[in-house]
Amino acid sequence: MTRIYLDHAATTPMAEEVIQTFTKEINEEFGNASSIHQTGRNARKKLDQSRHVFAASIGAHETEITITSGGTEADNYALFGTAYARKSEGKHIITTQIEHHAVLHACEQLEREGFDVTYLPVNKEGVIDVNDLKNSLRDDTILVSVMYANNEVGAIQPIQAIGELLKDHPAYFHTDAVQAYGSIEIDVHALHVDLLSVSSHKINGPKGIGFLFVGKGIALKPLFYGGQQERKKRAGTENIPAVVAFAKAVELKQSKLQENITRNVQLKQAFVQQLTSNGVQFTVNGPETDVLSHVLNISIPKTDVETFLVQLDLAGIDASSGSACTAGSIDPSHVLVAMYGENTPVLRNSVRFSFGINNTEQQVIEAANKISKIIH
């Protein structure tokens, strides 16, 4: 059975050119970018070229890019790095109820360490109100962390408006752009963000690599100590093949950004249309506009997500829910709870489908047909 992969928000396959770049690098280069010899210099050159690609992709300067082991480390570095560097200035942090756990659990740890965290609510579409943020701001607010777009329902947040609001406030502004990057054009200066997290494996790059944009003049306390890598901000010998392959993935995404958006919108529409014409009753979780083109979260009445996801898997369809279902503990999605409250069947009957490079219209129609069969 050929599987239909509709879980690109969880992770993506590497693009063909990325695999070629990755394997070529592993075969040909092994140098340590910190070494003083030619082999080391070769590695350093590739590191610098890649960093240039990362910086250019968001309108930043190369010195503003700190390469990390991925999105989680980028988020943790932004949060703990800011909190520890600025704790004498204030202990207040503002974030939202719908962040990825890489941000939420880091915030919970900071609370245990004595920081005061405000979690902003969202409306029924999963979007925060900038006025709520404005009202929560205090003189001792040192950091505002709002995700660019939500990974479960795709809701794009008013990042530019927040950036404008914080222009005259000393708080650093971090945005977790892990899900948005590659699906939205991003310019850090137009947005007035100070910190921005990106992950490689969400954009058809390899796993275990990402970066944090750290704007000029923003000082973070490092998480790792050791060598002098990343201008002493992040010790540890660089994973050059992964960095170079990541840069290749970025280039591909940048060159096909509009094309990808159009394609994803088409796939989403074809999928939704097929479900509708098959008579499947469902509602969409998340906004109608200002939503990520590749994410579709739907609630199907009278289904149970725990059973439904297994049925999908057995039918050859990979999809997921926002629930963490490790070892059978179904915690309802914190995102859906923030949107709808605790007492709604939507928490138990919502599934996320997310589209990507290898999907075809034929595949999504087949998936929709299989879903109809499961439900009826």
Partner: protein, 370 residues
């Protein structure tokens, strides 16, 4: 009949060696096997550690070794409502409940069976030591071949409809053989220790656990003729026939729990393991359930167990109503305990069972037992 490769079997996997080998055997026979881990209880501690996490890790390893898909399903709410609530109610009433019997009846072979059927399963399998066999158009439940491990006692409430959908892939094996197969196949759980005790309490202190849910009322211990013998920690902590934990010293024979006086909150104790007051000759039981749908005669003789792993005793059974039986023993039996199951057998076949309610000696009700 379906071809074996088109026959879907959901196997309940606990992360133990029995269900691991059961899954392996099904896969080897060519079934379309799906492993599912049930989470019925949350014991997450302050560090976020939950025993279910480790068990599920073992399920993942074994399923990947065997080459079958695996999932988890959560029945915490159903378990709380149907099993744990009953468990507490019984203790409150001074009885000794059997949560495993209730779990099999309400969770494993009801909620879980329904889940399996929803996933297109033709059968639900478990790693129980029991066997099923179709005879005269009825699915019979037979004792597990390993007499020391036979678990039909806990499965006595299963009915025909449930049994028709059930497979026990290791029921024909000795425990020793199950371990051997696991070792031969290099299954991750091959040398894992068997779990003991009530599943949701595990290795923890039973007294401490129960005390978290029910208020313990301390009281005095008395002999049957009213002589005070020190204090008890709360009647719910003791079961009929129990020897340990009484703390009565002195010379002579050891002391045992004979009964409970709930009204006065007194624990009745007596000396000698074969104390006459511990013996009874008949009982009544309710929640009567039979494994087959064959019509039962109003009265019949068979053998019975009153506790897990006890030798069978010859009995005469009289149906008092749809739901209630009078069971008269061929010889006096020690420490019959209300709340436990009485399970009936005809040779190797488990006929069904009921929950012990009242205990009699020569026709007189033993009020001190419950």
């Amino acid at each position: 009949m379906k071809k074996i490769e088109d026959t879907r079997v959901v196997i309940g996997m606990s992360g133990g060696v029995d269900s691991s080998v059961a899954a392996f055997l099904l896969k080897e026979q060519g079934y379309d096997v799906i492993g599912i881990f049930m989470k019925n209880w949350d014991d997450t501690d302050e560090f976020g550690v939950c025993t279910a996490t480790d068990d599920y890790e073992d399920v993942i390893k074994v399923c990947n070794q065997i080459g079958i898909p695996y999932y988890a399903v959560n029945f915490e709410k159903q378990y709380w409502d149907k099993v744990f609530t009953y468990f507490l109610e019984e203790y409150k009433a001074g009885r000794t409940p059997n949560p495993d019997v209730m779990c099999n009846k309400e969770i494993k072979f009801k909620a879980f069976l329904e889940h399996a059927l929803a996933l297109g399963a033709d059968y639900l399998a478990t790693g129980h030591y029991a066997q099923v066999e179709v005879r005269d158009g009825q699915t019979r439940m037979l004792r597990g071949k390993d007499n020391n491990k036979d678990q039909t006692y806990f499965l006595n409430q299963l009915n025909q409809e449930q049994l028709e959908k059930v497979m026990f892939p290791i029921g024909h094996l000795e425990k020793k053989k199950v371990r051997e197969i696991a070792l031969e196949q290099g299954l991750a759980t091959a040398t894992k220790k068997d779990s003991t005790g009530i599943c949701f309490i595990g290795e923890r202190n039973f007294k401490e656990f129960l005390g978290q849910y029910l208020p313990a009322q301390k009281g005095v211990m008395e002999t049957m003729d009213g002589k005070q013998m020190g204090h008890h920690d709360g009647l719910m902590y003791y079961t009929i026939g129990q020897r340990h934990g009484l703390g009565i010293g002195g010379s002579g024979d050891p002391w045992f729990v004979i009964g409970k006086d709930l009204e006065r909150n007194v624990l009745l104790v007596g000396q000698n393991i074969n104390n006459d007051a511990l013996f009874s000759t008949s009982l009544t039981a309710t929640d009567l359930s039979f494994t087959t749908t064959l019509e039962k005669p109003k009265s019949f003789t068979c053998t019975a167990k009153f506790r897990y792993r006890q030798e069978d005793v010859g009995v005469h059974v009289e149906l008092l109503s749809e739901d209630k039986v009078l069971v008269t023993f061929d010889q006096p039996v020690r420490a019959i305990t209300p709340g436990q199951a009485v399970v009936f057998y005809q040779g190797d076949e488990c006929l069904g069972g009921a929950t012990i309610d009242e205990v009699f000696k020569d026709g007189l009700k033993l009020d001190y037992v419950g």
